[in-house]
């Protein structure tokens, strides 16, 4: 089981309570598709992903980015058992979506960068450490059911 300090718990709850899902989600997914273009392989039916402007303006990217970000809410509410919270989603990503789990880390790096820009100076080293630890646990849980 993952041990969380009071500071880490409070930090995660705080970040998500202030989260602008419809801004951060789309921005994070768009950045991932732009900075790591091979991730586009999973979105063949999303239409125009030809360049950064197209990706940033793509409504399907925006919608999916928001969906992914809201997907983290369950982990925020169940920080003491993220592993079982995401067991089903892990199976989905492995058996139905066939996503290489390395991609989860790429998206979480982009999410960190977007949240950093949103929070500015508030995103201190300690806050970053808590946020990245949280994302690392999520990423690990999502990769857990692969075989």
């Amino acid at each position: 089981m993952v041990e969380w300090t009071d500071f880490e718990r409070a930090t995660i709850v705080d970040i998500f309570s202030k989260m602008q899902y419809e801004v951060v989600g789309p921005a994070a997914l768009a950045r991932c598709l732009i900075v790591y273009p091979w991730t586009q392989r999973y979105f063949g039916n999303f239409g125009n992903l030809y360049n950064a402007a197209a990706i940033s303006g793509n409504p399907m990217v925006a919608k999916h980015g928001t969906t992914i970000l809201h997907g983290l809410d369950r982990a925020v509410k169940n920080m003491d058992d993220i592993k079982s919270t995401y067991a089903e989603l892990s199976v989905l990503h492995s058996e139905k979506l066939h996503v290489d789990p390395d991609n989860f880390k790429l998206l979480s790096d982009c999410l960190t960068i977007v949240v950093a820009a949103q929070l500015g100076k508030e995103f201190t080293g300690k806050v970053q450490a808590a946020f990245q630890k949280f994302l690392a646990v999520v990423v690990s849980s999502l990769g857990r059911q692969y075989h």
């Binding site: 768009a30 950045r31 732009i34 900075v35 950064a52 990706i55 940033s56 790096d109 960190t112 960068i113 977007v114 950093a116 820009a117 949103q118 929070l119 500015g120 100076k121 995103f123 080293g125 300690k126 970053q128 450490a129 990245q132």
Partner: protein, 144 residues
């Protein structure tokens, strides 16, 4: 991985104009974050009296690292050649595991994202990410 296109180099050089003059703050913030978020990186600094992210040693080191990155920007057309000495230093003396270059690169991007939220667009991000990856490759050139 990939070579830097002319577009990448332009994006990096243009963005770096924002950084000019702020290297010290940016570098020390990046190293401080590295130590806070990736505590395993502290193993390289066991000779410091104070390993906390806000220590004078950490700040000084951030400045050193950032000077290196700024130098690399000026040598962007030939990173391998331009960084030969630094590569030998990292290979034979420092022996930093190259995985850590990704870590400091990520921390640097986080700092840039905070300091320049409007200029650090996705296009600039990808160019910088490629540049830092190329820089890491040049630094690891002499490892084996």
């Amino acid at each position: 991985m990939t070579t830097l296109t002319a577009k990448d180099k332009d994006a990096v050089r243009t963005f770096w104009a924002n950084v000019s003059g702020k290297e010290e703050d940016i570098g020390s913030d990046a190293v401080a974050r590295m130590l806070a978020v990736y505590p395993q990186t502290k193993t390289y600094f066991s000779h410091w009296k104070d390993l906390s992210p806000s220590s004078p040693s950490a700040r000084k080191h951030g400045i050193t690292v950032m000077k290196g990155v700024a130098d690399a920007v000026s040598k962007i057309d030939d990173l391998k050649g331009g960084l030969l000495t630094l590569s030998e230093l990292h290979a034979f003396t420092l022996r930093v595991d190259p995985a850590n270059f990704k870590i400091i690169s990520h921390c640097l991007l986080v700092v840039l994202s905070i300091k320049f939220p409007n200029d650090f667009t996705p296009e600039v991000h990808v160019a910088l990410d490629k540049f830092l990856a190329a820089l890491a490759l040049a630094l690891a050139e002499k490892y084996r």
